[in-house]
């Protein structure tokens, strides 16, 4: 177990370095000089331009910039934005908001996704199953911006249950509607995955054995069926947490949530290299840790899987 975790942690290093390098290069090759853009439409003074470029370290060759950045990163220094603000401040302001939003969406998608999938799988071919298939199909095909405006119009403008946009980004009650929108697509996938998995497992021998032993139905479903059906769902959920945090761009824009998506979208538009890379570093860490947890969960769900 300990050796497995250590090996996985070591394997993460090249992926982490590769991803940060990739995004670093992608941001760097963006045409247009972000320093010159600080002057707006006016022509920048060459001496000042050179001084600013030098101060931001943008006159160095790319590999020096990259090693410089990574070196600082390992001491916890995320660098500065063009305006001289610490990137770590921008991140620590936006990250708690998005973590709340993403975790709420995550919880919604697990509870409702697995619940709906279980109901449909147990009643295979019946009305509950068919309506689940139609419901998830519709949910998958409505693109997120459309769903966002639909919910905003319906719940905020018509029913007046909530304000159309979020006033206080840390308020859990106000984040509920954006979280539903953010989690809805994955909810549909989780529901379908759980359904398929449950339909496959419900005919397994161990379920028949458990029934023959006279175990209560609640126990058969809870301990035997659900536990064995969760492996594909957990795999999906593991890659999904990172996607939720990065995919919050649209949802946060529609509902005016001041989180990672909002900050990233602005940073990409303004070619704020350090900010973009800083956020991606955080997102990649979340993604890598989530995939490690998924691997460890396999062993919890299925005792036959052991990590030496």
């Amino acid at each position: 177990m300990g050796r497995f975790v250590a090996r996985r942690l070591l394997q993460m290093i090249p992926v982490f370095l590769g991803t940060t390098f990739l995004i670093f290069m992608m941001v760097r090759i963006l045409p247009g000089d972000p320093v010159a853009a600080m002057w707006g439409d006016k022509a920048p003074d060459p001496a000042q331009l050179a001084a600013f470029t030098h101060k931001l370290g943008l006159d160095l060759p790319w590999y020096e910039q990259y090693f410089d950045y990574m070196g600082k990163l390992f001491t916890g220094n995320f660098g500065e934005t063009m305006a001289g603000r610490q990137v770590i401040d921008v991140i620590s302001e936006a990250l708690p908001v998005t973590i709340r939003l993403a975790l709420m969406a995550f919880a919604i998608e697990i509870v409702f996704g697995v619940g709906i999938g279980l109901l449909a799988g147990l009643r295979r071919g019946k009305f509950a199953d068919k309506s689940t298939l139609v419901f998830t199909l519709i949910l998958i095909s409505i693109p997120v911006p459309v769903l966002g405006y639909l919910f905003q119009t319906f719940f905020a403008d018509q029913l007046k249950w909530v304000t159309p946009t979020v006033q206080d980004s840390m308020n859990l009650g106000q984040l509920l509607l954006p979280a539903v929108v953010l989690g809805s697509l994955s909810l549909a996938y989780v529901a379908r995955l759980s359904r398929t998995s449950i339909v496959e497992n419900i005919r397994a021998d161990y379920i028949r054995t458990a029934t023959a032993k006279g175990l209560p139905r609640r126990k058969i479903i809870g301990t035997h069926l659900l536990r064995n059906s969760m492996i594909p769902v957990v795999t999906f959920l593991g890659t999904d947490l990172g996607a939720l945090m990065g995919g919050a761009i649209v949802t946060e824009g529609i509902f005016n949530v001041k989180g990672v998506g909002n900050a990233l979208f602005r940073a990409i538009g303004q070619k704020e290299g350090a900010t973009v890379v800083g956020f991606v570093v955080v997102l990649v860490i979340v993604y890598l840790v989530a995939s490690l947890i998924v691997d460890l969960l396999y062993a919890v769900l299925d005792p036959r899987i052991r990590y030496a």
Binding site: T19, I23, S141, P143, G246, I249, I268
Partner: protein, 314 residues
């Protein structure tokens, strides 16, 4: 169920030995492909989605069949204030007018082109690149697999939407092709993983060993023996992903970082309609509805194809 599976395996053998059996008669053994087709033909969900997709493709090729109104011609007298007029089917004012007095109906019809081209081209490009990389990694294994799999992991670690934003931001003038490029550059990883897994399973089969023993070249083994038998899961994932790519294109255009104005895209129209969502909801409803319908059609098609190609789920 068991007799079905037996029929399947029986049907598989002639396809693997390479003899092409056209076999229109049901008694004769059918290849996996024609068996899947027989299954598909009888499914209403497939027929409905195929009909929808056919209409969309006709709309892409000859939008003039549906409307003769110029989607870019704006008449400010019609600015939002003209709500839809449902009594005139297939007329310009059927769906109402947008903020610049352009016919929403005509824009919805002409917007199909961008979505369909992006969807089909990205799926084709992603299947080719991902399939090629997955085939190399799966067939050769060893250090080739290690390197290619790590590269796949690196690209997989970047969320699709985020990566596309960064890539597209570097284009000053964005066309359909820049969107196709961005989506392909970041979207091939899923196909590579599916293809790799599939190839690893197939390459252990006896007929691959037999082909090797007969002295077949590596290229021949890969193309003639492994590819036809490993392609089914890739086709399934590709069909379902097609709808997702169309939705991503619309999302990017909605964010203002995908397609740009002279190009007509449902995403751009959704974006410009959101400002007037409370006064002219129809301006949002029609492009959004059409987009959802398109994505729905492709996902339904993918579902049906998966059921037909994967007999385990029947």
């Amino acid at each position: 169920m068991p007799d079905l599976i037996e029929k399947k395996t029986a049907a598989k053998i002639p396809a693997q030995s390479g003899s092409s059996a056209p076999a229109p008669k049901p008694e004769k053994a059918r290849s996996l492909g024609s068996d899947a087709w027989e299954e598909l033909r009888r499914r209403p969900i497939f027929l409905i989605s195929a009909a929808l997709i056919l209409v969309l493709i006709v709309m892409t090729l000859v939008p003039g069949l549906f409307t003769s109104v110029d989607p870019r011609a704006g008449d400010l007298r019609n600015h939002y204030l003209s709500p839809p007029n449902y009594s005139h089917l297939f007329q310009a004012d059927w769906f109402g007018y947008d903020g610049q007095g352009r016919s929403i109906y005509s824009r919805v019809v002409h917007g199909a082109r961008a979505s369909i081209i992006v969807g089909i081209c990205v799926t084709a490009a992603v299947t080719l690149t991902g399939g090629f990389i997955g085939m190399l990694a799966g067939y050769f294994g060893g250090w080739m697999d290690t390197i290619l799999s790590r590269v796949t992991d690196v690209f997989f670690g970047i969320p699709l939407l985020l990566g596309c934003l960064v890539v597209l931001n570097s284009f000053t003038e964005r066309t359909v092709w820049s969107v196709v490029f961005a989506l392909t550059a970041l979207g091939w990883t899923q196909m590579a993983r599916v293809m790799r897994g599939s190839v690893i399973t197939v390459k252990q089969a006896d007929y691959v060993t037999a082909a090797k023993a007969l002295g077949a070249s590596t290229g021949r083994i890969m193309l003639k023996h492994i590819l036809p038998n490993a392609i089914a899961p890739v086709i399934v994932v590709a069909t379902i992903a097609l709808g997702g790519y169309i939705a991503t294109e619309a999302t990017l255009s909605f964010l203002g970082i995908g397609l740009q104005d002279p190009t007509i895209s449902w995403g751009i129209d959704i974006n410009s309609a959101q400002k007037v969502i409370r006064t002219a909801p129809f301006a949002l409803f029609f492009p959004a509805g059409m987009l959802s319908l398109t994505v729905l059609a492709f996902i339904m098609m993918g579902d049906a194809v998966r059921d037909a190609l994967d007999p385990k789920l029947r």
